[in-house]
Amino acid sequence: MNILIRQARVVDPYQQLDAIMDVHIADGNIQAIGAELNIPDAQVIEAKGQILCPNFTDLLSYLRQPGNSQKGTIASETRAAASAGFGTLLPSPDTQPASDSTAVLELVQDRAEQAGYCQVLPIAALTQGLQSTHLSNMLGLNKAGAVAFSNAGYDITDNTVLLRCYEYAATYKLKIFVQARDAALSHGHMHDGILATQLGLNGIPVIAETLAISRHLQMMQHTGVSCHFQQLSSAAGVEMLRQAKAQGLAISADVDLAHLCNTEQQVQGYNSQYHVQPPLRHESDRQALIAGLADGTIDAIVSAHQPHEAAAKQAPFADTATGMAIYDIFMPLLLSLAADTNLSLLQLTAALSKQPRSLLGLDENGLTVGAAANLCLIDPNLSWQLTSTSQQSRGANQCLQNSTLMGRVMLTLQHGKVTWQAHD
């Protein structure tokens, strides 16, 4: 490994750097960075017009194994993640069986290591079997590699259980990831608005999110546990977290890319590829999510990548599975967000690298001499077609299948090792 990437636009949120540079990588680390480097033996990559940034960390991804390998495998989905520029993934504990035992955590980490595409830091189940009745063996799971605990999409409706989960986690300073949704109010299939009325689909009101946020915030204040809120979907939800942060609560939050780029209108015509939880909401909600990201209320962007087999999406809308396979279109969507909003590439890459890593307590130095070469190189002007042969994820639920997309990850490096390289 001895590479010289020349004339790349280096976007490094760790140093607030956005400049044309040469970067020399060898032995897994960044050896030199400068305006014009001359390294005689290095393999040269001409990267004029391309973007070089830290590779990404995904705080929410569904790798489907164990239990659902017809939808995706750890190997297939970590490869897809690498092709989208990711180097580190936090897979959801929502597997079968759930990630509530050291055996499952070891399986997930071993498979990921064998595959060699991404570092996998598992989120473990907060309750046994995600059943919301018994606490999982949090200390043991933490020792086995769990970096956080979550009940995934399952609301713990019993306040006694929730309180004890948080008290126990707070005892050992374990981090909680929460998808704030009131179970009873989330039985619908899309945002509760005029389109749901027109399509005759059960709506999920914004209060399903805000009610849950306020409950978790109070539990958090009472127990002192540290919470990270996942997949915010509404303007009102963002505002609640903005105020909570202003009060100095130790919270953080993320939003998935699909919610930054889409609204409920995508469901028009019963398009089941946009059947997601939480639902895509109104344009004003989308704008509030963008504003929340811009002002730091929202710390991170996640993929919430959820691959499915084709049949899972082929039914009347309400009968279809929720979730979107997004890794294959992640970079084109991210670049369109940079083009269509005030969010800069520095802000977007910060929300995908520096910020998610810092809330996990993972220190990094970005593109500095001596730092590990955890990088991705992006060609923002490359136009390509997403087809069943070009896609990397096993998921058949691709919402932009057969579309022409703009922008592609050319190269992903994890500790200097090539984990993805685009072929012409």
Partner: protein, 332 residues
Amino acid sequence: MNLPPSAQLQLTETGELRHFLSIDGLPKTLLERILDTANSFVVVGNQEVKKVPLLRGKTVVNLFFENSTRTRSTFELAAQRLSADVLNLDINTSATSKGESLLDTLRNLRAMHSDMFVVRHSQSGAAHFIAQQVTPNVAIINAGDGRHAHPTQAMLDMLTIYRHKASFDQLKVAIVGDILHSRVARDQVHALTTLGCQDVRLIGPNTLLPTAAEELGVTTYNDLDKGLEDVDVIIMLRLQTERMDSAFLPSASEYYQAYGLTRQRLCKAKSDAIVMHPGPINRGIEIESEVADGEQSLILNQVGYGIAIRMAVMSMAMSGQMQQRQIMEANQ
């Protein structure tokens, strides 16, 4: 053609009806043609020989995933009067609980080379799904999908109004009851507003009014007496008794007190107002018997118009679908 996405699927490239899935987005001229065609079919029912040969040699499959005697029989009669061969399939949900998906069921049916499916299903969007993904060459008539649409029922209500009232733009129309769960009400609203009706009122308690209903171009009322003031047409909706179990309403008697149509309340409307109901009616829950059987009630007329509307829509969709097939074959 510049049409809303909801309408694109239903029309051929030249704007002819090809599937009939929902009134949403269909142009006024098309609705008027359906009414005129149906109006001409009303007389067919009064003739000695009740058949016309418009669908001779065509196979119509009634695909009912949800029970319905009335709607299915009127579709069957309509198809027979158009001289089609009719196959009735009651596919109760137990077939799908055995593991067969809707997609597999339809793939099997496709092998029968039918020309038209009349579909009723408990899920909103089921008819769209079938038209879009499964059998684009078979004309699909939506006979009710979840709480989304029931366009033939809405059009038969329009035919009732059309035959008994002056032009739509002068009318005040009240729709009363469980709007939230009503696939008929949604299509009635689309049909009325498209046909030019300026004053459509949805009347019910907040638990039974859908979110953002005003954006459909209607006015909502909680007070029945206020909502009925000066109206020309009253459409009562059926109240499903299970709404009491799922906390939408406290009791049938309290509902009747607030939203039951009595003779006294009928007086708030214009003296020549007509009363409609898609049936089957719950006497003493939605409507007082004297009103249901009274001279302002057109509830029984609606049934006969239902056959005429279904004949009109089936013949129009079949010819549109044939035309589309020819266009596609020519393009190949």
